[in-house]
Amino acid sequence: MPTSEDYKSQVPAWCPGCGNFQILSTIKQALIELGIEPWEVLVVSGIGQAGKLPHYIKCHTFNGLHGRTLPVATAAKLANHSLHVIAVAGDGDCYGEGGNHFLHTIRRNPNISLFVHNNQIYGLTKGQASPTTAEGTYTTIQPYGVLQEAMNPLAMAISQNCSFVARGFAGDQEHLKELMKAAIKHKGFALLDILQPCVTFNKINTFKWYRDRVYRLGDDYDPYNRNKAFEKSLEWGDKIPNGIFYKYEREIFEERVPAIQEKPLVRQKFSLEEVKHEIEKFY
């Protein structure tokens, strides 16, 4: 069993008080409780405050480009599906720059967990609006307030039949840990949107703001009903539900790609002997 010592890595370069600290310690805790060793997990991230996270965990890491987390993660999983692959992204990263990959990764349904540190702001670039920033919010680039309606990532995921759709809160670590574990254990593409206070640039959605509003979906909530899940995903305001909104069991991508049914691609040895008759086909 791994211990928290095994997962100790670099010292985080986040602002004191940032919600990312809770997310970091919760991920570690979830991995430890699931008995996953550092060398069994690959964390793929983009650029942003969230994107720095894998440097602060001991694990295989691909910290790539802003917005491009999911294509890298999907392909790494196809190449070696014996790895646990977790994609970590910011809200700008995943829903802004990377919006198209978000949409199409849902359709592919690889067995990957996606954790979005949704602070409703661009943190690393110092406070511009992200796709999830509330309409009307003032920023340096939006002096008239954000003119767009905020994106609803959960509703979007449900609309495309994403196989696992959940939301947690950095300030409710116990619940968050359970959601993380459920996402990692879930067979299929699992979106976990995490409400994360950015104490420096988002003066509206603070720890307190969230605490006053969030509640956990009850045991009576049925995550298998798509229409109900959609309705629930629209709830946002005085009350903000957290938990698993939607689940849909379907075959995962790795089970459908014929080349990797016997063993991971990365373990398939190449031999020129076995392919050289290819040339013959051109005579």
Binding site: L65, P71, A75, A79, F270, F282
Partner: protein, 535 residues
């Protein structure tokens, strides 16, 4: 043509018992299936050539001696019971004119139509025979062309794209992700068609950005990977290219050029992206560019691309163009003997003496060990797009930065340069006239050199390993150019890109330049005509 059906389409086929490697402007036989074809291509028929047509289809009768009126449609209806077989009749007739026999055509007809049932196959064969017989009987002077059915050696028939895709398979490529774009799509189609046989993963991405990032992800995870596209799609991959540079992830990228800018001519050819591909990506990192001149070179260079990409952990390009990519060539010499395969990736066993694996460990060559995440015991593999330390973690300090730039770029460059083969000299060994080309102009320049009288001492210097330039101590091609009286750079673009590159790399200045930028490849005739001014 960017129209799928309807409208004008044509193919040009050149036959010879000599080796041929280029297209000609003029044809000997024009097989016209409609009036439009006659009107557009009539002026391209050589003196003494023929135009096979059907006056009923064309709704016009031509009286000139080169016209041979063959009732394609009527024969098709009579023999095949269906007028759509008029084209089969026509092909039979063309073979009849050449008296080449029908065996090959019959095989193709069986292959093509067998899934439509035996009757369709038989009707088509009957149509081909009827056309053949008609032509044989009615053709005035077929012996003029002097073609005989080839004997002995079987020949391959292959396109540039097929050669690249086959080269990838035979180099251990296991993962290909791309987004459809002419003229690169066939690489993906080919690989998909072989996915089952060779256990390949072929993924159509949602866009080119995903395509290259997927290929990077697969390569990082430990399998040989490749992506392919055309110029416009590659434009979207440029950020990913830079990521390859920073993370030192091996990747082979096929860029099949078509005329730009923007959408340009989607189904035509140009060599307009050379300097773009060479300088693409923000920041500085090494790369290799191959630009094959024939399908054969495409095949072997693809193999070499995988070798160099993995050995140096860099991006390697197969740069080509629609002309080489899509034209079909016959030749004899492809074999698997000369292929190389070295697996530079390290797994459990290979790392048993490494205590503390660091993905970006400094070394005298700049190359660090490339471990496979999850297959390397407890070693962790950390790749980072920020500037990083040896372990792969973000840094900000000046000292590490300098050492990393040296590691990833400055130390590798001279080693890579040593891997590059000299340009290919064809013709006079101490030439006075040198025609210089790169990539797909190989064939046409070579054939034109053959037509220049020996005493003029002409040669072709052809670059297929285009960047970096090979070291001059192996073969002093710049000395050779300096000793010539006339050096002509021949390019399928408007801004003399290769000439600029050679000047910037070596200081050498060509005496002349021939450029073609109408979206068409050079033909033997038009290159000869351009050369008239100088030779």
């Amino acid at each position: 043509m960017s129209r799928i059906r309807g409208g004008h389409n044509f193919y040009q086929i050149r036959l010879s018992d000599q080796k041929i490697t280029a297209s000609r402007e003029m044809v000997d036989i024009l097989l016209a299936l409609d009036l439009n074809t006659i009107e557009i291509h009539r002026k391209s028929v050589n003196e003494g050539g023929f135009i096979l047509y059907d006056s009923e289809i064309a709704k016009k009768k031509f009286e000139e001696p080169e016209f041979i009126d063959i009732p394609f449609r009527k024969i098709a209806l009579d023999v095949g019971k269906n007028s759509v077989m008029a084209n089969t009749v026509a092909i039979g007739a063309a073979l009849g004119i050449l008296d080449l026999g029908l065996e090959a055509l019959k095989k193709i007809l069986i292959e093509t139509f067998s899934r439509k049932g035996e009757e369709v196959v038989q009707n088509n064969i009957a149509c081909a025979e009827a056309g053949y017989k008609y032509a044989l009987t009615n053709c005035p002077k077929c012996e003029a062309f002097g073609i005989r059915e080839p004997e002995g050696k079987r020949l391959m028939i292959i396109t540039g794209l097929q050669a690249i895709a086959m080269g990838a398979i035979m180099s251990g490529c296991k993962f290909y992700s791309a987004y459809p774009m002419s003229p690169s799509t066939e690489i993906m189609e080919y690989l998909a068609s072989r996915a089952e046989e060779y256990n390949l993963v072929v993924e159509q991405a949602e866009d080119e950005i995903a395509a290259i990032n997927m290929a990077i992800g697969a390569s990082f995870a430990g399998v040989r990977a490749m992506t392919g596209t055309s110029g416009g799609g590659f434009a979207l991959m440029v950020e990913g290219l830079s990521l390859i540079g920073m993370t030192e992830t091996p990747l082979v990228i096929a860029e099949m050029q078509r005329p730009g800018p923007a959408t340009g001519f989607p189904t035509r050819t140009e060599q307009g992206d050379l300097l773009f591909v060479l300088h693409a990506g923000h920041g500085e990192f090494p790369r290799v560019i191959f630009e094959p001149g024939t399908p054969k070179q495409a095949f072997y260079l693809t193999n070499r691309a995988f070798e160099l990409a993995e050995k140096y952990q860099i991006p390697v390009f197969i740069l080509s163009d629609q002309y080489l990519a899509e034209s079909e060539w016959t030749f004899e010499e492809l074999g698997s003997e000369k292929l190389i395969y070295n697996d530079y990736r390290l797994r459990e066993e290979d790392l048993k003496d490494v205590e503390d694996y660091k993905r970006y460990k400094f070394s005298s060559t700049g190359i660090s060990l490339l471990a496979v995440p999850g297959e390397a015991g407890k070693h962790l593999v950390v790749a980072d797009s920020d500037e990083h330390d040896e372990e792969g973690h973000i840094v900000e300090d000046s000292e590490t930065r300098i050492k990393m730039v040296q590691k990833r770029l400055l130390k590798k460059l001279p080693l890579i340069k040593k891997e590059i083969e000299a340009p290919f000299l064809y013709g006079d060994p101490s030439p006075k006239i040198v025609l210089v080309g790169h990539g797909s102009t190989y064939g046409v320049i070579k054939e034109v050199v053959d037509t220049i009288p020996k005493d003029k001492k002409a040669a072709m210097l052809h670059f297929s390993q285009i960047y970096p330039f090979s070291e001059r101590d192996r073969f002093d091609y710049i000395g050779l150019l300096e000793n010539a009286d006339l050096t002509i750079c021949i390019e399928n673009n408007a801004t003399e890109q290769f000439a600029k590159l050679l000047r910037s790399e070596t200081g050498f200045e060509f005496s002349h330049q021939i450029s073609k930028y109408d979206g068409r490849p050079f033909t033997i005739e038009n290159l000869k005509e351009e050369l008239h001014a100088y030779i």
